[in-house]
């Protein structure tokens, strides 16, 4: 557990007040309010259609909303979308993809090192000159994370970072996110469907089901009542919540 209590005196890096979003007559988010402190790992959970991705789009100011979203004035925000579809024969190399953000070779190498890709030969021959479309799901996610940290953001928004990645790969990606959080003092806001991950990695959790169902430290906020409001009655008895006593 990462203790953030001492930081509560700080100015929040993000504060959301009474956020509501409607598409035509259809209410998608209603009265959502929360704060994120620098260095927090906030997990956003909820069923399909709960408005998680819509919340992200509001935070990025891509859609109209009611209410107030205020970022700290100097906050640099990076975003990794869930849907990143690229055909296998899309003519774009990883190097060219990085060049959209930075042409500085040292910056690119540093970002790749941060996501655990360190072998010089491997980087030159099997990463940078590869087509982006040829990368496996796990590799692509690492490259996306490297891409997102290249301009040294303070906050990263991750939408389902492990969608389409096998179980072993999932673990690696979350450990990587945790490592970046620890090393770079990053604030992480991530959407996740996996409650197990939330208990292990998040300092705070926000439960959504069109409106805010719970908000707080995961072990306290994610109670039976909150789960029932999100996933229905049956979830309380059957959801796959495992305790990990092996955590250091």
């Amino acid at each position: 557990m990462w203790y953030t209590g001492a930081m509560s005196e700080q100015e929040p890096i993000l504060s959301v007040n009474q956020l509501s979003v409607a598409f035509e007559a259809h209410q998608v988010l209603k009265d959502v309010s929360f704060e994120v402190q620098p260095g927090d790992v906030l997990a956003i959970v909820g069923p399909n259609g709960a408005g998680k991705s819509v919340l992200f789009r509001s935070l990025l100011n891509l859609i109209p909303f009611a209410g107030v979203i205020s970022w700290a004035p100097d906050a640099r925000v990076s975003y990794i979308p869930q849907r990143f579809s690229i055909d296998q024969d899309f003519p774009l190399t990883v190097r060219e993809f990085f060049h959209f953000k930075s042409k500085n070779k040292q910056d690119i190498l540093a970002a790749l090192h941060s996501v655990g890709i360190t072998n010089e030969h491997h980087i030159q021959h099997h990463i940078l000159n590869q087509r982006v479309g040829w990368l496996s799901g796990g590799q692509l996610q690492r490259i996306l994370i490297a891409w997102s940290i290249i301009d040294k953001p303070d906050v990263i928004l991750l939408d389902e970072p492990t969608a389409g990645i096998d179980v072993g790969g999932e673990e690696t990606i979350y450990n990587l996110i945790k490592k970046l959080h620890d090393e770079r003092k990053l604030t992480i806001i991530m959407i996740s469907h996996d409650l197990d991950i939330v208990y292990r990695y998040a300092t705070n959790v926000l439960c959504l089901n069109k409106e805010m169902v719970c908000y707080g430290v995961p072990v306290e906020a994610l109670d039976a009542e909150a789960l029932k409001k999100m996933y229905g009655e049956a979830s309380v008895y059957s959801h796959p919540h495992k305790h990990h006593h092996s955590e250091p």
Binding site: L60, P81, F84, F90, L92
Partner: protein, 254 residues
């Protein structure tokens, strides 16, 4: 005074390069069929220009411009399949154009006739193609990233919708120019074929875009040159030259 054959090759070559380069982005954005159908819309504009006696380029561009705005609005505002709508409206426009076009000019309007170009066409074509390539190069980052993930691109503060609209206008512009070379029926080929051949032989984006431009130029110049040698209709010959380049590219597929 420039020799007419040379003038044809120069104008045709420039249009080919422009069509190949713009086509490279259209193929990535899966706009191949839109580009093909869009060219048909030029015919009514062309017909009006012939009837009212002004430069056909302006007539073609005017109707293409209207069509492009229509496509853009439909994509944004409706959930209807734009492919279907494009299919309906654009074939209707073609039919209308065929009825409007004076009989003697119909063949030229449908299949192009580069042999009619004059020096004044060069004064329009050359700067327009060069300017167009410069603009597309300048917005290429947003175009390419926006194809992969619109939200990611927007989150970086890039104006995806505005760039998409500008790009559609440029598509209308190159189609209006290309009608001189291949006519309204075959113009789609000049944007689709060079880019598809370039995709076969390229891993990097920079090589892909450059190869598409080169293939576009070769297609156009090669087709016009062969047509000149054997007194054939240049429009279909250009498309055939493109087909041959595409076949060759298959042997070098990456």
């Amino acid at each position: 005074m420039i020799h007419p054959s040379l003038l044809q090759l120069v104008i045709g070559g420039f249009i080919g390069v422009g069509a190949g380069y713009v086509g490279a982005f259209m193929i990535l954005r899966r706009m191949a069929l839109v580009g093909d159908a869009l060219s048909h819309v030029a015919l009514p504009g062309l017909a009006l220009a012939l009837l009212l006696n002004f430069n056909p380029f302006y007539g073609a561009f005017a109707t293409l411009f209207i069509a492009v705005i229509g496509v853009w609005a439909l994509e944004r505002k409706t959930s209807l399949s734009s492919e279907t709508l494009v299919g309906i409206f654009f074939t209707t426009a073609l039919a209308l154009g065929i009825l409007l076009t004076p009989e003697p000019e119909l063949l030229e309007a449908l299949f192009g006739d580069i042999s009619k170009v004059t020096l004044s066409d060069a004064y329009i074509t050359l700067p327009v193609v060069l300017g167009m390539i410069a603009i597309v190069a300048a917005i290429s980052k947003t175009l390419v990233l926006g194809t992969i993930s619109k939200e990611l691109t927007q989150s970086m503060g890039l104006k995806v919708n505005r760039v998409n609209f500008l790009f559609l206008l440029l598509v209308a512009l190159i189609v209006a120019l290309g009608i001189k070379v291949t006519g309204t029926l075959l113009m789609g080929a000049l944007v689709i074929i060079p880019a598809t051949a370039a995709r076969n032989i390229s891993i990097t984006f920079s090589r892909y875009a450059a190869a598409a431009a080169v293939f576009g130029g070769l297609t156009s110049i090669g087709g016009i040159w062969i047509a000149q040698q054997y007194a054939l209709n240049p429009g279909p010959m250009v498309v055939l030259a493109g087909g041959i380049i595409f076949l060759i590219s298959l042997f070098f597929k990456k």
